[in-house]
Structures are given as structure tokens and as C-alpha cells.
């Protein structure tokens, strides 16, 4: 996606910088009222994501992943069976694909549950919560606003690609399975590269920090992309800490697990604290001056500290997984 296409305002993302997490929460709430953002982000893995383009820390990183599988797996861990439809990268839907997606959304809304979609008012995730055949428009809300979206504009936004996820079914899931699945997703993301192709040079998980440092060492950092990534990752780690803050209470009947949750909370807060100092250096959307050598050195130091804290956090997750298994 081109950087110009993604113009957001700081205030737009007060619901949370990971729009996928917010969109999932908005859908889930209509079925399971008790969930909040930390639980949703934690159980779906979005609280633990980092995806950095080693070439320039581009703005597409946080949303450059396999949407279908990540959304479906994450929603399944909330007790929701989801269906997704997606066109290839940068390919607008054919009339048939569009009609299929409209029908999916309408079915979902008829059943009382908003759909999740992409690039409606801005290239971020959002929700479709209503439709009007007479006006041929959806009611759609994403970080850029809450306004009608003509049917024919679905998949023809700023980047011309279509994604829709809807709920097919919901089921009960026990807290132990949920925690186990969440830990597995988070650890996989932290330790293994999830991209099929070498290019673009995206790195996720712990190696994401290395990629970030590499871009700063080369002095080829995108101002806009870097600021966006920092805000997204910092916010996600703060949410991860809140998730474990809640889990340690949820699991107070199991001292080992509860204590490990406390440790994980501490570590993710540590990550968030290191990154927070960079937020002041790189405000969004202006982005500051990441390619100034002096700033680059400060940033590399902070990213190294953040990586070290995240490494320790992942170790805690692995210990937790052993306990839960």
C-alpha cells in the first residue's frame, strides 16, 4: 500500500491502534457481552504482533499478514467460527465476488451480528453494522469514521482489495483451551517467520526488532511508517500487559499460573515503557526525524531494550504453556 493512501489522525485510533482487534471486539460483543479489548487482543494474538519491513519500516507492516487464517484462528479462540472472503492483494472484487460479500454481510446483519471488513473509509479494519438496499449502502464504522459505504465501494477503497469476515457459528470454549491456544499463537508469532515469501523483507516476532534496528542502521526509515509501527506495537504491548493483569485474577485459583501471568504482565509493561519513549520522538502522523543519526542511535538502544524485555516475556509464555498443557 502506498503511504499517502493511509492518512489517519491520532484521535481516530482512540479505540486502540490495532484496528483488527477493535473490529473483532465490536463483532464479538454482539454474541458474547463479557469480552473487553485486552481479552480479545490477547486471545486472538493481536496483542503480541509485530511485523516490520527491514527495508524501511513501512506503514503496511501491521496489516501485512494472512488475514484469513489469522482472523479465523483468533476468532475460533473466542468461541466463534468465522467465514472469510478476500481478493488478492491490490485486486478489486469481480461483480460475483462483490455480490457474494454483500450477501455474506447482509446474512450476518440479519442474524444480528456486525461483519468485519477492510479499507472502507481508510485502509484499516472496521465493522459493517447495517444495510439499506434502497440506498444501496452499508452503515460502516472504522477508525476514519462512521458513515454510509455504498455497496459498490466494498473492496474499492484506497487500496482496492476486499476482505470480509462474518460469524458462522458460536460455541463454548473453556478458559484452559483459550489460554493454551493464545500462548501457542503468541509463541509461534514470536519465534517463527510467518511469511511465505522472502520479499518484502518482513520479519515478525522477536526478529521484527532486529529488522527494525537494521532499517535504522541503514538510515532508510519511513517517517510515517515508523511512527505508525511504534504506536501500534507499543499500544499492543500495553494491552498484552492488561490481558495478563486480568488473567492473573482469572486464574487466582492456580497459584503457579497466576504468578506467571503476573511476571508476563511485568515484562510486557517493560516492553511498552521502552517503546513509549520512542513515541515522543516519533509522533504520529508527522513522524519526526528517524534518519537523523542522533535519533537513530537512541532508537536502536531502545529497540534493543524492548527486544530483550520481549524475549523474557516470551520465555514466560513458554513456561506458562508448560503449566497449562
Amino acid at each position: 500500500m502506498s503511504e499517502k493512501s493511509q492518512v489517519l489522525n491520532c484521535n481516530d485510533l482512540t479505540g486502540g491502534w490495532t484496528s483488527a482487534g477493535v473490529a473483532i471486539l465490536n463483532t464479538v460483543r454482539f454474541l458474547k457481552e463479557d469480552y473487553d479489548l485486552p481479552q480479545v487482543m490477547g486471545y486472538t494474538g493481536f496483542a503480541f504482533r509485530i511485523n516490520i519491513n527491514a527495508a524501511d519500516v513501512d506503514v503496511a507492516g501491521p496489516t501485512a499478514f494472512d488475514w484469513e487464517s489469522i482472523f479465523e484462528r483468533g476468532l475460533a479462540n473466542l468461541g466463534i467460527k468465522a467465514t472469510t472472503v478476500r481478493t488478492k492483494d491490490f485486486v478489486a472484487p469481480t461483480p460475483e465476488e462483490l455480490k457474494q460479500a454483500i450477501a455474506m454481510v447482509q446474512d450476518s446483519i440479519d442474524q444480528g451480528v456486525p461483519a468485519i471488513s477492510w479499507d472502507m473509509h481508510v485502509p484499516e479494519f472496521g465493522n459493517i453494522y447495517g444495510y439499506d438496499d434502497q440506498k444501496q449502502a452499508f452503515m460502516a464504522k472504522d477508525p476514519a469514521g462512521d458513515q454510509p459505504l455504498p455497496y459498490e465501494k466494498l473492496g474499492r477503497g484506497q487500496v482496492n482489495e476486499m476482505f470480509v469476515a462474518t460469524v458462522q457459528d458460536s460455541f463454548e470454549i473453556d478458559r484452559k483451551s483459550q489460554l493454551k491456544n493464545a500462548l501457542e499463537m503468541a509463541i509461534e508469532h514470536a519465534r517463527y517467520r510467518e511469511h511465505q515469501h522472502e520479499l518484502p523483507p518482513y520479519e515478525n516476532g522477536l526478529k521484527g526488532y532486529d529488522a527494525w534496528i537494521e532499517a535504522f542502521e541503514k538510515g532508510q526509515v519511513s517517517e510515517f511508517g515508523n511512527a505508525y509501527n511504534i504506536h501500534v506495537v507499543q499500544d499492543a504491548r500495553r494491552v498484552a500487559a492488561k490481558f495478563f493483569d486480568w488473567l492473573k485474577v482469572e486464574w487466582k485459583d492456580d497459584e503457579r499460573i497466576s504468578n506467571l501471568c503476573y511476571d508476563a504482565q511485568e515484562k510486557y509493561n517493560e516492553v511498552a515503557n521502552h517503546l513509549e519513549e520512542l513515541i515522543e520522538l516519533y509522533p504520529f502522523p508527522q513522524g519526526g526525524e528517524p534518519n537523523k543519526p542522533q535519533n537513530a542511535q537512541i532508537t536502536i538502544d531502545k529497540l534493543q531494550l524492548a527486544k530483550e524485555a520481549e524475549f523474557q516475556a516470551v520465555n514466560k509464555l513458554e513456561e506458562l504453556l508448560e503449566e497449562v498443557k
Partner: protein
């Protein structure tokens, strides 16, 4: 004996037809092998038709190739597999007419570029406007072949009449087909424009047609929902959304 032979022929014909249908179904799914097989099966026949029309071997070959390409692009819009042959025949004929209208095999001096000699700007993304311009040009064009001029005029008028009879949906398909039939170079010749300009206009025009097609299909979809008695409007409580 004779009866047996004719029965065998009939059986072969039916077998071919069945195979064709299976191939067409596969080609419609975008299977290039199935399309290749269809092409080789029908190439000979198509060549025959085209040759009859043009009386020129090379041009016939040219036309057939063009028609085959168009066939591939259009095959997914075919609804009735049995109609493949008739439809394919028509495409070849259309291609032939197109070439003939441009002056036929031995009349290179009669290129369409002669049509747009006046200074009026042609909005060639608008089919009605193109037809109007072409008609105007024919009226004022010196000719040494009044019969051909008449044929051209009648063809253009036929197209104009046809356009009026089409539904919006059919018309959008026709327009798309029309623009796909002419290469940028041909259109540049037609209106004496630079090829690079033509590419820009084509790209804009294609997008416009694509949007039009989407619009029509969405309207049809909504009508279908209405006919099924499905609800036409529903809005969930947006205060629950972050």
C-alpha cells in the same frame, strides 16, 4: 450400409458435442488447456467462415486469431454451453465486418483515420458519440465506392438502432466488448491521436465500464432480493461499537 454410416456420424457428432460442453465448462473456469483444445477444434471451421467473408488468406488468419482471443475473454460470460458454436460464429463474423468496414484487404487507403478529419473533439469513451461522428464523417467523405459507403452507413445505423434496443445491462456488455475489440493502435488510427493518450483514455474507459458493470450487477442483486421477499434494511445498535 448407408444407414449405418449415417448413424455412426450422428453418434460422433453427439460425442463431439458432449466433449465440447465439458471443455467449455472448464474453459469458463479459466482453464487454459480446455480453451486451447476448443481453439484447435474450432479453428479450422472458423478459418473457413472468415475466409469466405474476406477472400483473403492472411486477413482471415488474422481475424480468426483476434476472434479467438476475444472468445477467451468473453467465454466466462457464456451462459448456455450449447450456443457456443453459434456465438463463436457471430464473433468471427463481427471481426470480419470490422476489418471490412475498415476498407477490406485491398483498400488500405480507406483507413478509418479518414473519418475524423474535422476538428470537433471526439469523446470516444461514449459509444453514441462515436457512432454519431462516424456517421457524420461518412456523409461528408469523398468516395469512389458508393456501395461500400452505403454498407458502412447502414452498419453504423444498425449498431445505433441496436444500442437503443438493449437493456442497460446488455448495453454495458456491448460497450465493454466494443472497446475490447479495438486495439489502442487501431483507435489511434481511427482518431489520429497519440497511442499513449489512447492508453490513458482506454484505462479510464475500462474503469468506467467496470464500475458500470458493478453498478448494474448490484442493482440486479438487490432486485433479486426484493423478489425473494428478503428484508431491505436492517441496522444494528451502533452504540455498542468502539
Amino acid at each position: 450400409m448407408l444407414l449405418e454410416q449415417s448413424k455412426a456420424k450422428e453418434e460422433q457428432f453427439i460425442a463431439d458435442l458432449i466433449n465440447d460442453q465439458a471443455l467449455i465448462a472448464r474453459a469458463k473456469q479459466g482453464d487454459p488447456e480446455a480453451f486451447g483444445e476448443l481453439v484447435s477444434r474450432h479453428r479450422a471451421k472458423a478459418y473457413g467462415w472468415a475466409r469466405k467473408m474476406t477472400q483473403d488468406t492472411y486477413m482471415a488468419e488474422d481475424i480468426v486469431q483476434e476472434a479467438l482471443l476475444q472468445a477467451f475473454l468473453k467465454i466466462s460470460t457464456l451462459i448456455d454451453a450449447e450456443k457456443f458454436m453459434a456465438w463463436f460464429h457471430r464473433i468471427v463474423q463481427n471481426q470480419g465486418h470490422m476489418k471490412l468496414r475498415r476498407g477490406g484487404p485491398y483498400a488500405h487507403e480507406q483507413l478509418f483515420s479518414g473519418f475524423a478529419t474535422n476538428n470537433q473533439e471526439v469523446d470516444w469513451s461514449d459509444i453514441d458519440h462515436i457512432l454519431f461522428q462516424l456517421n457524420q464523417s461518412i456523409e461528408h467523405r469523398p468516395t469512389n465506392n458508393p456501395v461500400e459507403q452505403l454498407i458502412r452507413k447502414e452498419t453504423l445505423q444498425g449498431v445505433a438502432t441496436l444500442l437503443n434496443c438493449l437493456t442497460a445491462h446488455e448495453r454495458s456488455i456491448f460497450e465493454q466488448f466494443f472497446f475490447e475489440q479495438l486495439s489502442p493502435k487501431e483507435i489511434a488510427e481511427l482518431f489520429e491521436m497519440k497511442v499513449s493518450n489512447i492508453y490513458n483514455v482506454i484505462s479510464r474507459s475500462r474503469n468506467k465500464l467496470q464500475r458500470e458493470r458493478i453498478r448494474v450487477e448490484v442493482s440486479d442483486y438487490i432486485k433479486e432480493r426484493q423478489n425473494k421477499g428478503l428484508s431491505t434494511k436492517k441496522v444494528l445498535d451502533s452504540s455498542k461499537l468502539l
